[in-house]
């Protein structure tokens, strides 16, 4: 029992991370209609900036805030300079290819600038754990860091949900995602909204990356690669258009992963099969995911 609870908690800790990257993926998808494969590496770059700033003596929270601001601006610039010129209604794949290129470029750039040695990112949350219960002389504990991550993620979700669904700005963002030409005819500056979508999701990614890195004993340029696969699984499971879906499914994927490692021996070491299998099952059985809206379109 203790082992099971411990594994579930481990799973939640990882799942929250997948959820927050999935959140960034879903946000970009909902506001611009693009699946950004470079999301993880953009977050990685920002994470190294956070780390560098803490090395310069800045407090962790301040470092993350500055890194988020830098990511926000960079996200907007990336949209304007790299994404928009290749965007065309005829071949949406252009953008996908650019994000894949960006993935490789950013990863190499990180190695070039910050080196390949593992680094240590200090945590924004207090250390230690909260003891839950003891069975057979072993105690199940909830790490304060995990709890902190969950709370941050919930807060993020609330803010984003409110912004998207209850403000004029959110309505503009969604209008541009749904029908950019028509949005322009209604006086909405589509270009600015696309930039804003990228900026916001880059900032969320920066936060996620910085918090993830602190959870690990050390991190290097490979930090986000498996995370991205799990986050994609979470986003697909959640249906790609639901913020809460992304978060909840991130946690589901994390827990499923932890339990697979613990209880299904043959998959030990190749547990990354799990998210891929999940993506496949979702696409086959229920393409709109667990939380996604079914789209009905009439002509």
């Amino acid at each position: 029992m203790q082992l099971f609870v411990e594994q579930v908690l481990n799973g939640i800790a990882n799942g929250v991370v997948y959820g927050s990257v999935a959140l960034a993926l879903v946000l970009i998808f909902r506001t611009t209609g693009v699946l950004n494969f470079a999301q993880g590496e953009m977050a990685l770059f920002a994470t190294f900036i956070s780390w560098k700033l803490t090395q310069q003596g800045l407090p962790v929270v301040g470092a993350i805030a500055i890194s988020m601001a830098i990511a926000f601006v960079s996200g907007a610039v990336i949209e304007r300079v790299l994404i928009r010129p290749v965007e065309s209604a005829r071949s949406p794949l252009n953008v996908v290819i650019v994000t894949l290129g960006l993935f490789l470029a950013l990863n190499s750039l990180v190695q070039l600038i910050f080196g390949t040695d593992p680094q240590f990112m200090p945590s924004a949350f207090p250390s230690g754990g909260i003891e839950l219960f003891t069975s057979n002389g072993r105690t199940a504990t909830l790490q304060k860091g995990t709890l902190g991550l969950v709370l941050v993620l919930i807060a993020e979700c609330l803010v984003l949900w409110f912004m998207l669904n209850r403000t004029k700005l959110g309505l503009k963002l969604r209008a541009v995602a749904a029908n950019p030409q028509s949005a322009r005819l209604h006086g909405i500056k589509a270009g600015s909204m696309l930039m804003l979508g990228w900026a916001l999701s880059a900032a969320i990614g920066a936060l996620a990356g910085s918090l993830v890195a602190a959870q690990r004993t050390g991190f290097d340029s490979n930090l986000m690669q498996t995370v991205l696969v799990y986050a994609l699984a979470a986003a697909a499971l959640g249906g790609f258009d639901s913020l809460w879906g992304a978060v909840i499914c991130g946690i589901i994927v994390g827990v499923a992963d932890a339990l697979t490692i613990q209880y299904i021996d043959p998959l030990n070491g190749i547990e990354v099969v799990l998210p891929l299998a999940l993506i496949l099952v979702v696409l086959v059985v229920s393409p709109h995911g667990l939380f996604g809206k079914r789209t009905v379109e009439r002509v």
Partner: protein, 237 residues
């Protein structure tokens, strides 16, 4: 009579293809101007030139005396021109209510809520479906939504691109009845591009017949409607 909209020998097109050759066209304040013509005559292109979707290559377009040449669609919309494009411009994944609010997105006044109720009263089907995803409605309902959404902006000029396209005859008649009411009761100036000449000319004041990017004939809507020669040559009924 003041001109709301004036096109002054406008040239325009796509890439190397010039579609519009010196279009002269005016919409009087409070009038309905109808542009008729076959497929490919340049009707849609004319509207696109007005609202800034394509660049004007020659001539001038003036709205209330101000030139629109070089302005983006966003800017043209903010000046007070609403455009109901072909295909209706529905925001499919958004609810009917959200679609309507997008129409009023750049308004700063406090009467958006009362306007919403006004248009829901005028189009009861939309009111019933305000929480429904707009893309799930029928073509006719989406066309009504496009009209109501355009009106939410409180435009001073309404551009409509083939509103009858793909609609059942009964729905088309209902739509044109609404357009006629908007013109008569609110004094809204309208420029409508149509293939359905009969219905459009019924509510129109002045009509133009476009052929190969040039104005071939123009006259009062009434006279165009009754002109046997024009009907046979251009309108096909």
């Amino acid at each position: 009579m003041t001109h709301v909209l004036e096109l002054d020998s406008v040239d325009g097109g796509y890439g190397h293809a010039q579609v519009l050759h010196g279009i002269d066209l005016t919409v009087e304040e409070g009038h309905v101007a109808v542009v008729l013509g076959a497929n490919g005559a340049g009707k849609t292109t004319t509207l696109r030139a007005i609202c800034g979707v394509i660049r004007v290559r020659g001539g001038d377009i003036r709205f209330e005396g101000k030139s629109l040449v070089g302005k983006s669609p966003e800017e043209v919309s903010r000046l007070g021109i609403a455009h109901v494009p072909q295909g209706r411009g529905t925001f499919s994944e958004l609810t009917v209510d959200e679609n309507m609010r997008i129409g009023a997105i750049n308004r700063k006044d406090k009467e958006v809520a009362s306007d919403l109720e006004r248009w829901y009263a005028a189009f009861p089907r939309l009111g019933e479906r305000r929480k429904q995803e707009a893309g799930s409605m029928s073509g006719g309902e989406q066309q009504m939504l496009a009209l109501a959404r355009a009106m939410m902006a409180r435009p001073r000029l309404l551009l409509l691109d083939e509103p009858s396209l793909g609609l059942a005859p009964l729905v088309t008649r209902e739509l044109f009845a609404h357009l006629g009411d908007l013109n008569k009761e609110d004094g809204l100036s309208i420029l409508v591009v149509e293939q359905n000449a009969n219905l459009a000319l019924d509510i129109g004041h002045w009509g133009y017949v476009l052929e190969a990017g040039r104005i071939a004939v123009q006259n009062t809507a009434h006279k165009l409607h009754d002109d046997e020669a024009v009907r046979k040559a251009y309108l096909g009924f």
